[in-house]
């Protein structure tokens, strides 16, 4: 599996040269491999064998059987000398860090890191705060690294588990959980402020917000520490208003970025917000109804679309604006009872689909299907 490696064409001489150089490397590699398998067959769990495993993994960090052997050796060494556990595993954590710098996308390396920490966690010796620092650094180098984000969630979950283990009661546990979740929320904010098109951060935010809301409501309202949440997290409604404001900035910064549009769809359809909005009549408590929020969003996006059209050499609509207009109008149409109004909105939706067929022709087949479905819906109403 090769990714992003330029194809090179070697001349006959260059190839011959490479074969000669490779012959030496191959013999080192194969000899080392043979030695290691030999030792393993003899159940050799010595520090010397561990050293040899390090050497081979340095040559090939994807050699999963050698990682397995390494773990067998470590477990045996620790069994023989329990006091050495922390030192041994922390040595591996350091070693893995160097590996990750070279191969940030190698599953087997991440896997070994997780294993070391899980072993340390059984004796309450895992330093999760340190791990969080490390993964933050890694995500600074590559803000979308899939493994990195995955690892971050693993660290956070493990922190939570260890709190659960050590907390004396459920309130204490919830308070600890709130603190962790709040930090993760702030982390996504920082990542988004850094780069609005970081979808990994938006994704995490969508997971963190509902959790933070529940925890803050039950255990944080009186704490000074979370003062900044008092206005934004009062209700799902206030969160929604806050988040819509946040993506509005994003839309104007870069309308072509898909992250914000996906996030908008989440905000307007997730049960957390929709249920809260459906509880109130328009203006009943000085707050906007679902319908007026949809109308406002529509205005904003239509205005943005006009700006984008002005910028376009042929005065064309903006594709993502059109798609989002459709999402919102579909939601509006669903709420409408008046037949005539409904018919009008649905005609507008069809018009937008027809524009998309022309403007976003890669996905023409999709719009044709969606349009068809819509025609049927209109006639059945």
């Amino acid at each position: 599996m090769q990714h992003g490696i330029k194809r090179t064409i070697l001349s006959k001489e260059a190839r011959q040269d490479k074969y000669e150089r490779d012959a030496i490397k191959i013999s080192t590699y194969r000899n080392l491999t043979a030695t290691i398998f030999q030792r393993r067959a003899e159940s050799d769990f010595s520090t010397e064998a561990l050293e040899l495993a390090t050497n081979l993994l340095n040559l090939n960090p994807e050699f999963y059987s050698v990682w397995n052997y390494r773990r067998e050796i470590l477990l045996d060494l620790i069994k023989k000398e329990p006091g050495s556990k922390k030192t041994r595993l922390e040595y591996d954590l350091k070693m893995i860090m160097a590996f990750l710098r070279r191969y940030p996308k190698c599953y087997w390396i991440w896997n070994h890191r997780v294993w070391c920490l899980q072993e340390l966690a059984t004796s309450n010796e895992a330093n999760w705060a340190f791990e969080l620092g490390i993964v933050s650094k890694l995500l600074e180098m590559d803000a979308r690294n899939y493994h990195g984000w995955q690892y971050r969630r693993f660290v956070v979950e493990s922190m939570e588990d260890s709190k659960k283990h050590n907390a004396s009661n459920s309130d204490e546990y919830a308070t600890e959980l709130l603190e962790i979740t709040f930090k993760e929320y702030q982390y996504t904010t920082a990542k988004i402020n850094n780069n609005i098109s970081n979808f990994s951060a938006w994704h995490n935010r969508s997971k963190v917000i509902p959790k933070l809301y529940r925890l803050w409501k039950s255990h944080g309202q009186n704490s000074d520490q979370y003062r900044e949440l008092v206005t934004t997290f009062q209700s799902p409604y206030s969160i929604l208003i806050h988040e819509l404001e946040l993506i509005k900035t994003g839309m104007y910064m870069d309308a072509d970025d898909t992250s914000i549009w996906l996030y908008l769809q989440w905000l307007l359809t997730d049960q957390l917000f929709v249920d809260d909005l459906n509880k109130r009549e328009d203006g009943s408590d000085g707050k906007k109804s679902f319908r007026s929020i949809l109308d406002e969003e529509l205005d904003i996006i239509e205005e943005l679309n006009e700006l984008e059209k002005d910028d376009h050499p042929e005065n064309k609509d903006h594709v993502w604006c059109l798609k989002s207009i459709i999402v919102i109008k579909k939601l509006i149409a669903k709420e409408l009872v008046d037949k005539e109004q409904k018919y009008r909105v649905e005609s507008e939706i069809k018009e937008a689909f027809e524009k998309l067929i022309e403007l976003d022709s890669l996905r023409k087949g999709r719009y044709i299907d969606q349009l068809k479905e819509f025609r049927e819906e209109v006639t059945t109403v």
Partner: protein, 335 residues
């Protein structure tokens, strides 16, 4: 448009294990992927209809047997290497593909493999890749795929496995590697294909949003497909997305001509094989998924003159239909 370099690709796969290739260091560094590599090569050859004459069954089966890990009861990737669920699936897939003339498929270590795989399922329904515990929806697919080929799925395993998959569904319609993880085209494929094998596609909360997300993976100017928003296109993602759309019956939601052009543009015109993006280094992984993708695209142009050049590939298993039609369909009839 570059034409499809059929003969070059056959030669490319043939050469993967040649004396010359063995002179390069990279060949030895990929031992841990050899069984998977063999499966990718076999898929290429069977799709091009030249399997048995290019890679004789006897040699291949001897190799597979030499990778049997009797301690664990699964297949490793290379003789002496540890069993892993990924290499075990590849071994089973290759054995199934080669049994062309047989109706009732036969596997030399069937019972051991079944208990090895079943033993990797955890309490929450997920599967680990080996005894050291890495969890990933990829392994759920791998396990359920293998057991389906062996005809040995069972109700409890399927229901727990599917529950776990559904916990990985996201608001954007896609699926991640574990609950909470971001949607990713390869993970979408493994989850959708698992749901397809277990006749559970109806559990998808919003099929339309999922298919929209999949169709958004096609990007300009190349026409290739990427794996996540704001990422570069890649031939292997073209397969993950295309096969998912095919399973969900929405292949028309992307531009097949543009994609075909992109995939063909990733061929190495001199040495054969495919790479991730035009001009890059080829490998058998991208060659397999490039050709499997072209086969799916070809299924769209059935009525065009000349008939199929490529054997049809089943998007759920990435194996020829002629093989997958022999698998017992879940839920099994009570005997």
């Amino acid at each position: 448009m570059t034409e499809f370099l059929r003969d070059k690709h056959i030669q490319y796969v043939k050469d993967l294990d040649s004396k010359i290739t063995q002179k390069s260091y990279e060949y030895w560094l990929s031992e841990h992927l050899r069984m998977n590599g063999l499966y990718w090569g076999v898929v290429v050859l069977v799709t091009l209809d030249v399997l048995e004459e290019t890679l004789p069954k006897k040699d291949v089966f001897t190799y597979i047997e030499s990778c049997w890990d009797s301690t664990q009861g699964g297949y490793g990737s290379f003789p002496g290497h540890d069993a892993h669920i990924l290499s075990t699936l590849s071994a089973i897939q290759i054995q199934a593909i080669y049994q062309k003339e047989v109706e009732e498929l036969d596997f030399p270590h069937k019972n051991e493999v079944v208990s090895y795989i079943k033993g990797l399922q955890r309490e929450n329904g997920s599967f680990q890749g080996d005894t050291f515990g890495e969890i990933d929806t990829r392994f759920t697919y791998t396990a359920i795929n293998a057991l389906s080929i062996l005809g040995e799925l069972d109700t409890e395993l399927v229901s727990k496995g599917v529950d776990f998959i559904m916990k990985c569904e996201n608001f954007d319609g896609g699926f991640g590697m574990v609950p909470g993880a971001e949607s990713h085209a390869a993970q979408v494929f493994v989850c959708v294909a698992t749901l397809s094998i277990t006749s559970s596609l109806h559990l998808i909360k919003n099929k339309e949003i999922l298919c929209e997300w999949l169709s958004e993976r096609q990007v300009l100017p190349s026409g290739g497909l990427n794996g996540r928003p704001e990422k570069l296109p890649d031939v292997c993602y073209s397969w993950w997305v295309l096969s998912s759309l095919s399973i969900l019956d929405k292949l028309s939601w992307i531009d097949d001509k543009k994609l075909k052009e992109y995939i063909l543009g990733c061929q190495d015109e001199l040495g054969g094989g495919f790479c991730d993006r035009p001009g890059n280094q080829t490998d058998v992984f991208h060659t397999c998924f490039g050709i499997a993708g072209l086969s799916l695209l070809e299924s769209l142009e059935q009525d065009s003159a000349g008939g199929p050049v490529l054997n049809p590939v089943d998007p759920t298993y990435c194996m020829p239909y002629s093989t997958t039609k022999k698998f017992r369909k879940w839920p099994y009839d009570k005997k």
